[in-house]
């Protein structure tokens, strides 16, 4: 009976994994088709869609834009989120509970609402659709995630450590820089990583606030799909999948992904 249960659990897990991986597999296989249509199974083998994906100007610019915007947005969010988390965790002030609830609940604002709002505000204030606008929009989107990650790590620091440091003559700033910050490092890395992944893949809000010049990769892909239906998209997706896998392997190797993820699980 136990044996049977164990086998069944394994089968279910295997099926789930297949189910999750299936779309990626289909996309990857489709990318090698030789015809100019998206179709499965492919009828021949070719690498030309990969070539086109790599050389297509909008994608190149989108990728660069994505990197720039992601780097700025997640770094800014990290700084603001850390300060915010510290203030909420360490200080007692009127309305703290409300602020805590609002800032730590990432799902409250639908992305398209934020996108439209930013667009309306920008045009009302006659602001161009510049990088700053996109970065600002992304900061707002990822801030709660960063803040939560830092907040949880902060909660895990024994308050006696801060008291010990203070009794030894450390001012609150020294205490933060020499005790809290080093102990927060894994939480900060985790928060930054989540922010970066979210920002890089964000589409809905980004669609509203980017222009031709500032569009990110997902927006460029969307524009492309509206004009062409060849496997370039599949090739690009395959490349992104490969890049993500490499990135996560590297992150796991150097940062300990399990550690970062367990911080999130701890909330």
């Amino acid at each position: 009976m136990d044996q049977l249960l164990r086998v069944m659990v394994r089968v279910v897990i295997a099926l789930t994994l297949c189910f999750v991986a299936l779309p990626s597999l289909v996309v990857i296989v489709t990318a090698f088709n030789d015809k100019a249509i998206l179709m499965f199974p492919p009828t021949g083998f070719s690498l030309r869609w990969f070539e086109r994906a790599i050389t297509y100007d909008d994608f190149r610019r989108g990728l660069m834009n994505g990197f720039i915007i992601t780097a700025w947005a997640s770094s800014l969010a990290l700084v603001c989120g850390t300060l915010g988390a510290v203030v909420i965790e360490r200080y007692r002030f009127a309305g703290r509970r409300w602020l805590e609830a609002i800032l730590l609940s990432p799902l409250v604002i639908p992305h398209f609402t934020l996108g439209i709002a930013m667009l309306i505000l920008a045009s009302a204030m006659h602001v161009e659709r510049t990088y700053s606008l996109v970065v600002l929009c992304h900061v707002i989107l990822v801030l709660p995630f960063v803040m939560r990650s830092v907040y949880v790590s902060l909660k895990n620091i024994d308050p006696a450590l801060g008291r010990a440091a203070a009794s030894l003559g450390a001012t609150p700033l020294q205490c933060f820089l020499r005790i809290d910050l080093p102990l927060l490092a894994p939480g900060l890395a985790g928060g930054w990583l989540f922010a970066a992944i979210l920002s890089f893949n964000e589409f809905t809000a980004t669609l509203f606030v980017t222009g031709q010049r500032t569009q990110t990769l997902p927006v460029a892909m969307y524009t492309y799909v509206r004009e062409y239906a060849d496997p370039t998209m599949a090739a690009l997706s395959a490349l992104l999948i490969a890049a993500t896998v490499l990135f996560l392997l590297a992150a796991n190797r150097w940062l300990g992904l399990a550690r970062i993820l367990s911080i999130e699980a701890g909330r």
């Binding site: 024994d158 006696a160 450590l161 008291r163 030894l168 001012t171 020499r178």
Partner: protein, 364 residues
């Protein structure tokens, strides 16, 4: 400034602290002499940690003042008070080596690097862990971690060290060793020390004076022997040491003695509390070592006669529990080991009390 206030290293005057509706400290005053080892002793929740945190500056009093070395520190943040703190769970910085932990305070006080190295080494040797400087705190045992925490607190030459139940997380065998070590270091350095514990034997063995606290107030502040021999309240009498406790009624009193009725016996004993009026209910306390077993119904048996109920063998003595007809049980301490054979279970014995060493307090 007068001579006397100068020798006070720490003085706390009329301090009050409430958390919402709970009063953590209720008008507490206390002075600690320079070089003194003072212990705050009391049950859980009586306000020991709150008082310590007030002195350290982590908590602000609602009322009252705190002076360290004759200077008011009410307005000083913790990092300007020059105190050393030792915590129950060590609170070593996990991301620093042992040597960096110990050197942290010196670094914060801008001591030159070369001097830091020398002083850290000396501090580690003081706690006999000179060779562990490169280790991380998590690679040490609890006892070692607490010794490092002590070295870290002392290396900055604080005006006073505050220890909050430092040994309660350390296993029992090691604890006695740590206590001796702390006492030796404290005496060698002559440093003013305030120590928090709820373990009375720890308090009795380490302290110059003990402040017994209950419900946010100091019940009594005395040397250990005085606390044991002259408790000031029924709380202190029941909290310190083993003791027998009986309800009784005051029948008569003079300037120095009173006569009480306990069950059907009348006893005359010295007065130990001013507020004892005739007819009032009171509590009589007497320690097991002030009781003696005598032949049943002899004239010496001033507490009456009962039956031997239990023996508890304790090595140096035997505690004999005697049950009376009215279900009262008395604990009598008999030196040596022979009591188990001298007084068989169920045997009738008389109990004689040394009433000069009994304590009587009003029943609350």
């Amino acid at each position: 400034m007068t001579q006397t206030t100068e020798s006070f290293s720490v003085s706390v005057a009329n301090v009050r602290k409430a958390y919402g509706t709970t009063t953590a400290l209720d008008d507490v005053s206390l002075t600690v002499q320079a070089g003194e080892f003072l212990t705050l002793l009391g049950p859980s929740g009586c306000g020991k940690t709150t008082l310590l945190n007030l002195i350290a500056g982590f908590v602000q009093p609602d009322q009252g003042s705190i002076c360290i070395d004759g200077e008011s520190v009410n307005e000083l943040p913790p990092y300007r008070r020059s105190i050393g703190m030792v915590f129950q769970h060590y609170a070593l910085f996990p991301h620093m080596s042992v040597a960096d932990n110990v050197g942290f305070g010196l670094k914060m006080h801008q001591v030159p690097k070369s001097e830091i190295a020398v002083r850290v080494k000396a501090a580690l040797e003081m706690v006999r862990l000179g060779q562990l400087g490169e280790r991380r705190p998590r690679e040490l045992s609890g006892g070692q971690q607490q010794r490092i925490a002590l070295a870290r607190a002392l290396v900055i030459n604080p005006k006073v060290v505050l220890l909050d139940e430092p040994f309660s997380a350390i296993d029992k065998n090691l604890r006695a060793e740590m206590q001796v070590e702390l006492k030796q270091i404290q005496q060698r350095l002559g440093i003013t020390t305030i120590f928090v514990t709820h373990d009375q034997s720890e308090a009795l063995s380490l302290s110059d004076r003990i402040a017994v606290m209950s419900n946010g107030q100091i019940e009594q502040l005395s040397a250990p022997a005085d606390l044991y021999r002259h408790p000031a309240s029924s709380f202190v009498a029941s909290f310190i040491g083993d003791i027998n406790r009986f309800p009784c009624v005051i029948k008569a009193r003079t300037e120095t003695t009173c006569t009480v009725a306990m069950a059907d016996t009348l006893l005359t004993l010295p007065i130990t509390h001013p507020a004892l009026s005739i007819g009032a209910a009171a509590l009589l306390f007497i320690r097991p070592e002030e009781l003696t077993l005598v032949p049943s119904h002899s004239d010496a048996a001033n507490l009456g006669t009962g039956q031997v109920d239990t023996h508890v063998y304790q090595g140096t003595h035997v505690d004999v529990y005697v049950r009376f007809a009215d279900a009262r049980v008395l604990r009598v301490r008999h030196p040596g080991w022979q009591a188990t054979s001298l007084f068989a279970l169920g045997q009738a014995v008389g109990v004689q009390a040394n009433l000069q060493q009994a304590f009587i307090f009003p029943a609350r």
